[in-house]
Point group: C2
Chain length 273, copies 2
């Protein structure tokens, strides 16, 4: 049985999920957190679905050992391929960034004409497109792969004139499509929100998964009486499967604060699932 | 014992090594070729040295089974970390892109002031810098990591104005250093030679590993009487460890011709080494 002072688990292939965590902490300031980034095996995007599911189960097994009461899959690739398997096997609720993002996008659009911006693998999988169309069969969905955005962000070039040219290169084709909302379907993209908004213009609302993930988590915890009433500063623990230095270097950018203590797990094993 | 009609083996983590192969075929038009790209496990650059050595041995084992008479390690990361091990264990000669590139750079410079352009991992390893300084202790070496070049090239944006801005961003700092030669220390970079040359100006000679690898191979084969005298069209065989479609898609760009037949190896095992 879960208890209010059990932590919430976050899983991502790397540091991108910290943008999701950041929003969650605003909405849930009293919650203990355990965050795991599988930095030794990223990127997940170029791996096969069965490998992605296996890696996700191994990582979640580590989080389950820390008695999490709720799991947030803060990785677009893992939440594309592994969410059903997790829901079947876990006794705790699971919230995925993709599903939350789609809900928010559908809630936001007035015209039903929407864009989805993501990495090549997210767009190629077609999973977001079909999730939207299941929930809103009349929606017109315009998927756009933007593979250079992540390397620009990881290089810290979020204000560089070259990024503006690249945003134009990817997004110019949307101008004639009259979309009124666009989902940022990658945990990195909130960091270049300004460049994307400038290119798409004020008529297009940018939708992120983070706030919706946080809201879903809060609603569920409240309904089950599992919100942490708080006792000062809750613990936020971070783990990476490779080189904590690299993880630490990027935390300021993705989390808005430096994370100094990062545990390293040598090999994550799928023990409990 | 090797024979003149045995093939030359090429190993790379992906398609980049095709730029090396392309030059080699010009110099050695009668040679049979077996090329292996370990596309299932790329990129190598973010992996630990022991993993890189293990993967390289597994791949080379596959090539050895095809009775290659000479091995060209057409991958900067693998030739950084695994060349010594290969030289110890193999009965055939091994030519690495890094070692060839350094030789060519030292031969080219007049002033002894040289730049090395590479991926983050290549530059961070410091291996090229120390190889140059071992051979030319008075050389002044300016290493520049250019992590966005590979994603631009893989996106096919080799003439895009954004690439020019990024080239300026990385290379501007070289202008005051009076270098007269720069090594393109990544198999992808020859595809953006024009953008790099424009940014560095005509006073800087760009050095590639490919021609030097080909020359070394030819010299060795000639000395041992192992040049293939030729009997019409030699066979060029290609293997990838993942998705041949993705490999095929990039061959035009890297090889200058479409490669239609690509074998897939499920798992490469280290049998013979």
């Amino acid at each position: 049985m879960s208890r209010p002072d059990d932590p919430i688990g976050f899983f991502d292939s790397g540091v991108g999920g910290l943008t999701i965590l950041r929003e969650a902490i605003k909405a849930l300031p009293n919650e203990e957190i355990v965050y795991l980034g599988d930095t030794a095996r990223l990127p997940y995007g170029n791996k096969s679905p069965s490998t992605i599911i296996r890696y996700t189960l191994e990582n979640v097994s580590f989080l389950m050992e820390r008695k999490i009461k709720l799991l947030i899959v803060a990785c677009f690739t893992a939440s594309s391929y592994a969410l059903e398997t997790l829901e079947e096997r876990l006794s705790i609720p699971v919230i995925g960034v993709i599903q939350s993002g789609c809900d928010e996008l559908i809630r936001t659009t007035q015209s039903g004409r929407v864009a989805v911006l993501g990495t090549s693998s997210t767009i190629r999988s077609g999973i977001i497109q079909s999730l939207i169309q299941t929930q809103a069969p009349n929606a017109a969905v315009f998927p756009i792969a933007c593979p250079l955005f992540v390397p620009f962000i990881e290089e810290g070039l979020v204000d560089h004139p070259a990024l503006k040219l690249i945003a134009k290169h990817y997004l110019d084709c949307l101008k004639t499509q009259e979309v009124d909302a666009a989902l940022l379907a990658c945990t990195h993209y909130p960091l270049i929100r300004t460049a994307i908004q400038e290119e798409l213009g004020p008529g297009v609302k940018l939708v992120e998964s983070a706030a919706c993930c946080a809201r879903k988590a809060k609603e569920w915890l409240f309904a089950k009486g599992l919100l942490n009433p708080g006792n000062g500063k809750p613990k936020h623990r971070f783990f990476a499967s490779d080189d904590p230095e690299k993880f630490r270097r990027l935390t300021n950018q993705f989390f808005g604060a430096e994370i100094t203590e990062i545990g390293v797990l040598p090999v994550v094993k799928n023990k409990n699932l």
